[in-house]
């Protein structure tokens, strides 16, 4: 039940983000200063902002950046971290030492501050934000993969695979990876919602997608001085962020139960 709600909700948010590429009630970037700060009406169901832009259209289009950046960052983290973790688990010794210590060092640094630094150096923008957030997903996945894989390596069926003449790479692909999907899915859910949060933070600071493309984080930042006169301008994008993170966590739980019911974390 809980799982179904989460999956449906996340599907709905993703569908809205995709729909916004084709259609929004108004042009999300269209400025009409004469109609600024209007309350909800038939023409503007959620009202307008300080520049007279339609808030509903902005909220719809504003979903693209957090979802896109978080998904891309997750893909970067998985593509980089899982192979590193598998390698470290398969080759105890100096290689394992390098991967683990490297991950420890990266994780010891405050991720968001460093992501800001990366974006500041590379220049603001969605792809740079994804790169910066994704870079910090790599040590997280490397660590989870290594720890779970080490536990699988000690099982007798790995001995049986070695007796079949299989090497570390083949064993990792055939036996280790399918048996660590549970913890990986759990971690992926966590990193996806953290990615949404990180994008919102970067956008809030003006380091995410650039105007006129809207993003929830920047909508909050732009409207914060108006919180007394038009509180919905801050509350609605904030609520959108919260609901999205909530939906990701619920949907992740459903996915984990389906992929790896026996791990039951």
């Amino acid at each position: 039940m809980k799982a179904k709600v989460g999956t449906l909700l996340l599907g709905l948010i993703a569908a809205i983000a995709l729909l916004s590429f084709l259609w929004t009630p108004w042009d999300a970037g269209a400025i009409d200063v004469a109609r600024r700060l209007q309350f909800a009406s038939w023409a503007h169901p959620l009202g307008t902002d300080q520049l007279g832009r339609d808030l509903l259209s902005m909220l719809m289009a504003g979903a693209r950046a957090p979802l896109g950046v978080a998904t891309l960052a997750l893909a970067i983290g998985l593509a980089g971290g899982v192979p590193l973790g598998l390698l470290a688990a398969a080759r105890p010794g100096w290689l394992d030492e390098i991967v683990t210590r490297g991950a420890d060092i990266l994780l010891a640094l405050p991720a968001l501050i460093l992501a800001m630094l990366v974006v500041a150096v590379l220049g603001p923008g969605a792809s740079h934000a994804a790169l910066a957030v994704g870079a910090f997903n790599i040590p997280v996945f490397a660590r989870v993969t290594r720890a779970s894989a080490r536990a699988v390596w000690t099982r007798d069926f790995i001995l049986a695979a070695r007796l079949a003449g299989k090497g570390a790479a083949l064993i990792s692909a055939e036996h280790i990876l399918p048996n660590i999907l549970g913890p990986l899915v759990t971690q992926a859910t966590l990193q996806l919602s953290l990615g949404v949060l990180a994008e919102a933070a970067l956008s809030f600071l003006g380091l995410g997608v650039q105007p006129p493309v809207p993003s929830w984080g920047r909508m909050v930042a732009d409207a914060q001085t108006l919180i007394g006169t038009a509180p919905w301008l801050v509350l609605l994008p904030g609520l959108a962020i919260v609901i999205t993170i909530f939906a990701i966590n619920l949907a992740g739980e459903a996915l984990r139960d389906r992929i790896a019911p026996e791990t039951g974390l």
């Binding site: 099982r155 007798d156 069926f157 001995l159 049986a160 695979a161 070695r162 007796l163 079949a164 003449g165 299989k166 083949l170 055939e174 036996h175 399918p178 048996n179 026996e262």
Partner: protein, 494 residues
């Protein structure tokens, strides 16, 4: 008052009868041993004694502890009963103890729940209980720093802490090495006599039951019969005539460094094994048996010495030669549940060694899998199922099918039959003896069960602390009194 009375108890799960009109009494100071194959209803009987069964499953009958019918009790009263009036000892002390609490803390918890002692009194009672179970250790130790036998002593201390009139023990010695088994059996016996408790001992181990029990009752398909018969016949294996040397282990040593700096391993081991021959390797846990198995399988290289298979040294074989050696040797491990990838079907599991033959068509793979399954008496439709769908004995057959599929010359059995009950074990023994005869297989058989060694092996290698204590024909080992270690290992059950 009688600690345990089971009166005409029948239990049914759906349309399967688990217990059929069972009557059983355990008197104070009496040890009653319950034996029977797996699936015979032993666990159901134990669960009934603790009132852990769903009420709907109980068809008729009563369970009385000290004269009180436990079915009339509320959940709160039952909590007083479990652990307070009935002490329980499980098979696996490693999982029965909480690794995050000190042993003293865990014993104290039982006392807090089930007695009215003050904090100070609990402290001295914990010390007393540890002394009673023969564990003169600090109560501040954690379970991980104890051996299996010591952990089982802690579990026993917890079970008797509240001075219950009844003790239930579920295979209390099955996971221990022979020396620890012996000590725990002696401890249980003396505790029951001194504290006048009743002990219901569920076990596969007839030798243990005969040694300490006053009565042995057997369960079979839910029916009880007094005095179990002996499932082990006197028929021993014909000694092998001895053929060409297959496995030669020459002055081999190997040590593993543990985290806390203590090295374990084996030193100066030499033996050879001929085609069609069975060599048993026995010794207490930690004596190096599994290390030896890994070396013989070529999974780890020895530090010194050499191990050769059909004249080829593991250390120098590379590439195609090594693959050819790999095809000669396979293994069956102790725990069939752990030796299969839980995400693979039986067909994928059994076909795994075919990797050594290079590319095969799907039809070739399937026909070989079905052939291997047939050799161990499993139907072709087993191939598509998951191993979790099979019982323990069938799983071990699947493991043997995997070992047979390449038609190897040597199979290493690492405690492969320890987890099975006597009836299933007997079936597997017969299967293994037949396969050995038909295919001229050599077996390296790691075990701690002497009945099994007697039935299976031609010769036996005894290890202790990583060194060979004795090597010779099986018959020469039984009844030896010159060496206390050998005498303890080969003590006959009677």
């Amino acid at each position: 008052m009688i600690p345990l009375e089971i009166d005409h108890l029948s239990v049914r799960y759906g349309d399967r009868t688990a217990l059929d009109d069972v009557c059983l009494r355990v008197a104070a100071g009496e040890i009653v041993s319950l034996v029977g194959p797996s699936g015979s209803g032993k666990s159901t009987l134990l669960a009934a004694a603790m009132d852990l069964l769903p009420r709907a499953a109980i068809e008729q009958g009563a369970v009385r502890i000290e004269g009180a019918d436990i079915r009339g009790l509320s959940e709160a009263q039952l909590q007083v009963l479990r652990g307070g009036r009935v002490g329980i000892i499980f098979q696996e002390p490693a999982t029965a103890l909480n690794p995050a609490l000190t042993i003293g803390g865990q014993i104290a918890e039982v006392l807090k729940l089930h007695t009215q002692l003050s904090r100070k009194e609990i402290g001295s009672e914990v010390e007393r209980l540890l002394a009673v179970v023969g564990l003169p250790l600090s109560p501040k130790r954690y379970p991980h720093s104890l051996s299996g036998g010591q952990r089982q002593r802690v579990a026993i201390a917890m079970a008797i802490a509240a001075r219950p009139p009844l003790l239930l023990a579920d295979e209390p010695t099955a996971s221990l090495d022979p020396v620890a088994q012996d000590e725990i059996a002696t401890l249980l016996q003396s505790l029951v006599r001194e504290e006048r408790m009743g002990l219901l001992l569920v076990t596969h181990d007839l030798a243990l039951a005969r040694r300490i029990a006053d009565r042995i009752v057997a369960l079979d398909h839910g029916r009880l019969s007094e005095q179990a018969r002996d499932p082990f016949g006197a028929d021993s294996r014909e000694p092998s005539t001895g053929g060409e040397e297959l496995l030669v282990v020459d002055r081999v040593a190997r040590s593993y460094r543990r985290a806390h700096g203590r090295a374990t391993g084996i030193a100066d081991i030499s033996f050879s094994l001929a085609r069609g021959e069975t060599l048993a390797v026995i010794g207490e846990s930690g004596s190096g048996k599994s290390t030896l198995a890994r070396l013989a399988l070529g999974l780890d290289p020895p530090d010194t010495g050499c191990i050769s298979l059909a004249g080829q040294d593991w250390a120098t074989a590379r590439g195609a030669q090594r693959r050819a050696m790999r095809r000669q040797v396979q293994a069956v491990f102790q725990d069939p549940a752990a030796s299969f990838d839980p995400r693979q079907t039986v067909a994928q599991i059994v076909a795994e060694p075919l990797h050594l033959l290079g590319r095969l068509t799907f039809a070739e793979r399937i026909s070989r899998v079905i052939d291997a399954l047939a050799q161990v008496g499993l139907p072709p439709d087993a191939a598509a199922r998951l191993p979790q769908a099979f019982s323990g004995g069938q799983r071990q057959r699947i493991a043997i099918a995997r070992a047979l599929i390449l038609k190897p010359a040597l199979i290493v059995f690492d405690e492969a039959l320890s987890a099975l009950d006597p009836a299933l074990r007997e079936e597997i023994v017969i299967l293994l003896l037949r396969l050995q005869r038909e295919q001229d297989l050599a077996y390296l058989f790691i075990a701690h069960d002497m009945d099994l060694v007697r039935r299976m092996a031609d010769r036996v290698l005894v290890l202790r602390h990583g060194r060979a204590v004795a090597l010779g024909p099986v018959s020469s080992m039984f009844g030896r009194r010159d060496d206390p270690y050998l005498a303890a290992l080969f003590a006959s059950p009677e």
